[in-house]
Subunit: 217 residues, 2 copies
DNA sequence: GGCGATTTGTCAATGTTTTAACGAAAAATT
DNA sequence: AATTTTTCGTTAAAACATTGACAAATCGCC
């Protein structure tokens, strides 16, 4: 049913947001919505919504709109949320632990299998029911277990070291919180970068820009 | 010196990365670099780098390239990192604490002044030397202290509640980790969203897309 | 100090993304 | 059952972003 054209990254980045709004509609018992109504709710243009959804096939119906539960299911499928990608988390520091506690992996298509760190004080302890292992045993673990994805919550230098091991063991998906640029070295991996420091700098930049233009007015 | 044309968001989002690479060059004692060399290092095109930097004025010199320390200083200034925006953090749960411990606010132009939460068990305790206050005292605090920015590390519903208070007290910069859409309601605020769950879904989507196209080959 | 090599700043061309317009299909209404 | 309204899917246009090309400026060398 899906059109065989590559989906642009701009569209992919909007899909999770559609998914969220559809879920909310569904939970509120709304079973039908028009692109216009959804656009107003989301602060987007109706045209964009129709064009985005049409990348994957015509889910709507003229004169009616979109069937909410159906569209929601289609989105889940497009996003691949029914997957069970096995994942490991690297670095059980503040950030890693926050991710562990805060993110619901299962509903996003991942199954967290193991956590690794190099700090002897926390190796052997348990977080959210998952034991923290010694990072030295990473290669061994990856060879005996199929690992699809890795969540990198460690500093740049450590990230560089573990990335090599992970890549050689066939890991091709990375959720990268470090400043190490994976995609520079490995061409065939899927990388999703989350750079918190960059994000905060961007905020600072925009606030400063606004302040300057306010002053200039 | 800066050209009076609005900088596009695409450019702004690249600036922190330039900043990072420039800092590294500077730390390595490299005081001069051409757009070509920087492009290779960053995996970008030389043309893009020249065009990006030129939005702010001609920092380079023909036949020579760019002076690293000078360019670094210019970038700091463009990003506004010498600012001292006063900030408060809302929500001292896992995520909030991780942000507190993990992010260096000062070097990104912010000064964290206070932390608020609604959980009685942690109100009064101290994180990183900053006392956690009762969120009920937020309005009072904001009225007696100038607050430029807020970091929202709480669930959607709570975010909605505090956003109103913050906006009414004049806060115009938001680092938003919640799923509440601030920019929908308030037009004149600067919002930088970090949606971890969306990010993970995006990774899942891209991995699934790759898997599908691998299978089709 | 002159000359070839280097490298920027900028303009033009290309590619991508968003918005607008409209025919066609289905629903709602009379 | 016919007509009006709604609303999609699609095509065309506009806006925006990236890449390529080259003249002009500066550097480094002889």
């Amino acid at each position: 049913m899906s059109k065989n054209k590559k989906i642009s990254m701009s569209v992919v980045r909007r899909l999770p947001r559609y998914y969220r709004f559809l879920l909310e509609l569904k939970n509120n018992g709304i079973y039908r919505i028009s692109s216009q109504a959804l656009a107003e709710k989301m602060g987007a243009s109706a045209s964009q919504i129709r064009q985005d959804l049409n990348c994957f096939g015509g889910f709507g119906q003229q004169g009616y709109g979109y069937d909410v539960p159906k569209l929601f299911d289609e989105l889940s499928s497009i996003l691949g949320l029914d997957s069970r990608y096995s994942a490991v988390l690297l670095g059980a520091g503040n950030l890693g632990r926050a991710i562990l506690n805060h993110v619901d992996f299962a509903s996003r298509g991942f199954e967290l299998k193991a956590v690794f760190d190099k700090n002897p004080e926390i190796i052997g302890t348990s977080i959210n029911g998952i034991a923290v292992r010694d990072v030295d045993s990473l290669a061994e673990y990856c060879q005996s277990h199929k690992v699809d994805a890795a969540f990198l919550c460690l500093p740049k230098d450590s990230a560089e070291q573990v990335a090599d091991i992970l890549y050689q063991c066939g890991v091709r998906g990375f959720w990268n919180f470090s400043h190490y640029d994976l995609s520079m070295k490995y061409g065939d991996v899927v990388t999703e970068n989350v750079h918190l420091n960059d994000s905060l700098m961007t905020l600072c930049c925009c606030m400063t820009e606004q302040r300057r233009s306010d002053g200039a007015e």
